[in-house]
Symmetry: C2
Subunit: 404 residues, 2 copies
């Protein structure tokens, strides 16, 4: 464990099994047991799920994400700063991680233009011309006052060729240094809207021994090219960050390729820092990438697929549109103890979905998040009790066994 | 108080002030203090609000509505009966009232045809030809297993002329008798899917001394014509019901006319039965009609207006779209203690609404229901402490004083 007295983030590994690690991440807004799944709260809300639900025992999400790109456009960093940062603006009191906007800008395709200085792009809402750079991203994330800030990176499609991937990786490395520099200036100038002064944290839980400042993570790029990934990792680690992320995966490459990149890269990442695989993935992906050494994950699929009528269960996916559930009194997942499964039947959730009731999205998003978060809880227990190898096999076998 | 040993419903008046009554309604699924506002759960869900929220202390809704017309079309009474009635189908454990479908069919306008036997109409979803009659409505409501069933009536526009209103009122009177007859047969045949056997009610609270059967309310019609209203009341009371409702108001007539009809009619309604004003209304309407002797209300406006960005507050309505709230850190209503007002700012709710996030509708619906339900709580307290006259004056004055 690193000396936390000067640190923004504390981190220690509690148990290992093979490459898998069970650890504890101390943020200024609470302790987070890892491996952890972080629900995505794009616009300051995890779509359809109230904070009270996220905090309740069946979900107990300790950290959620915010998206710099989306919050930059709506309501804008000025509004959020004026309201005292994203925590006070939204009412979320636990830890927050914000991405840098790099990935979202990347997905705008031909509405953006990348240069050394930064990225010019048009808003997907009103076409307005906007600009993001390492400096701007750090400034926006300071206004948001998130507890973990991500460096500004460029993200390429999974199939990017070596030459393009090298140029992009090198740009990302230069941007990492600029991110670090501007971030440090902002911390020095107390521009962080989420700053917690010593003794100001009501619970005191997270702040103990920490600086109360924002933490900054670097991002490793390099598409699917292992030499570029390794070089990117070296150059990012040289700058020095509180944690390291693997970016540029789950962006169109084949799944075995994704696993291979993680398998090759994660063990090389600093053992004394948390490792974060961005934008991944399915429940199987989480378990498989924990086995390869990843500690942190985020993904929109529990909520997005929930809105589209899909439930994740311990026996695979359930499509509520399927007529076979129309009179089925069983819960979405018979092995699930979440608030939705304790109270509601497949028949009811299906009815709500077919009738276009927003409660369908609310209930499916809740259940799916419960399934993801509970899976991670069980992963942590398994690693800590030396039982992860067996857990992993059984989990994958069961999830492929099909619904009954 | 009526002898409840053979009754489906118990009722007693606890306090009076002028025409206002504070009472207690005993249903087989719990005791309901009156005057009461009943949130509308059209399709087996109060739109955007989870049952857990409805049961929580800040809302504490003791009874909600279901709409026979909507549930007849989706998912259909066969599905709900197969799932054990609307309570077991939805997971709602407290009292349920279902309307008869008469009002909804009325609002289909030229997609319906009324005859002595019943109403032929086309589904607003797929144009399918459907049929509702007193008998069918009772059968559907038995399959739903609601705790309070409404007789099947015809509802005319508020401006209906005397001749048309008389014919319709007479038809409603004949339908009331047919509703009663078919309802009694169904109870005898134990067709009620929500039946509670003696001793079968876990809490025992509501069932004590009650028959465990469904209750049936009659509906007084007659548009705005006082002679027809009086005759309708006589003919309905002659049939005999567990409670009496005023239908056909809030359907296009002027507000003073609505108040006048209630003022003329409510005092004539059986004192030993609860009085229910259907489909009404705004917070001011509730307070004004309690003063005129009404005990029960339902209306979609807290949730519908919430979905459209409107918050009801103690100082009148707040439109979250208004730019003046964009950095306002105050809760929707500074005098409100609901979960939304305890946690979220106007700025945040406005942001969610402007960004099209469903959480906006969720939070606004919750707050609005809290405001309606809390208003009724305060109305009950005022009547019981002999303070209702002053409460009413101050409430109306405050709500018209404007937001600050």
């Amino acid at each position: 464990m690193s000396d936390a007295s000067e640190e923004a983030l504390g981190w220690r590994v509690l148990a290992r099994e093979g490459g898998a690690r069970a650890g504890e991440l101390q943020t200024r807004r609470g302790v987070i047991e890892t491996p952890v799944f972080m629900p995505v709260g794009t616009l300051g809300t995890v779509k359809g799920v109230r904070f009270e639900e996220l905090e309740a025992e069946d979900l107990d999400a300790r950290i959620i994400l915010g998206n710099t790109y989306h919050l930059l456009l709506r309501p804008g960093p000025e509004v959020i700063r004026a309201c005292g940062g994203l925590h006070r603006f939204t009412g979320w009191r636990r830890a927050l991680l914000t991405d840098s906007g790099g990935f979202q800008v990347f997905s705008l395709a031909d509405m953006r233009r990348v240069a050394e200085e930064g990225v010019k792009f048009r808003s997907h809402i009103d076409g307005r011309l906007c600009f993001l750079s390492p400096e701007v991203s750090m400034e926006v994330q300071a206004a948001l006052g998130s507890d973990i800030v991500m460096a500004f990176d460029e993200c390429l499609p999974g199939q990017a060729a070596h030459e393009a991937a090298r140029a992009s990786m090198e740009l990302t490395a230069r941007w990492a240094r600029r991110s670090r520099t501007r971030f440090d200036e902002l911390q020095r100038d107390s521009a962080d809207a989420g700053r917690i002064e010593e003794g100001a944290n009501a619970s005191g839980e997270g702040l103990k021994g920490l600086s109360g400042r924002q933490a900054l993570f670097g991002i490793v790029q390099g598409a699917t090219h292992s030499d570029l990934r390794r070089e990117s990792l070296e150059r990012t680690a040289e700058v020095g960050f509180d944690g390291y992320a693997i970016g540029g995966l789950s962006v169109g490459e084949e799944k075995p390729v994704m696993y291979e990149v993680v398998e090759g890269l994660a063990p090389l990442m600093p053992d004394e820092r948390p490792r974060y695989l961005m934008g991944v993935g399915t429940p199987e992906d989480l378990v498989e990438c924990v086995a390869r050494g990843v500690d942190m994950f985020d993904c929109v699929i529990p909520t997005r697929n929930g809105r589209n009528g899909q439930a994740f269960t311990s026996r695979g996916r359930l499509n509520v549109k399927n007529a076979q559930w129309s009179q089925d009194a069983r819960p979405l997942d018979e092995a699930c103890a979440c608030a939705v499964c304790r109270r509601h039947s497949r028949a009811y959730v299906r009815h709500l979905y077919m009738a276009g009731e927003m409660l369908a999205a609310v209930l499916l998003s809740h259940h799916n998040l419960a399934f993801f978060l509970d899976t991670m809880r069980r992963v942590r227990q398994a690693i800590r009790s030396g039982d992860f190898t067996r857990f992993r096999l059984e989990f994958i076998e069961r999830i492929n066994s099909g619904l009954v």
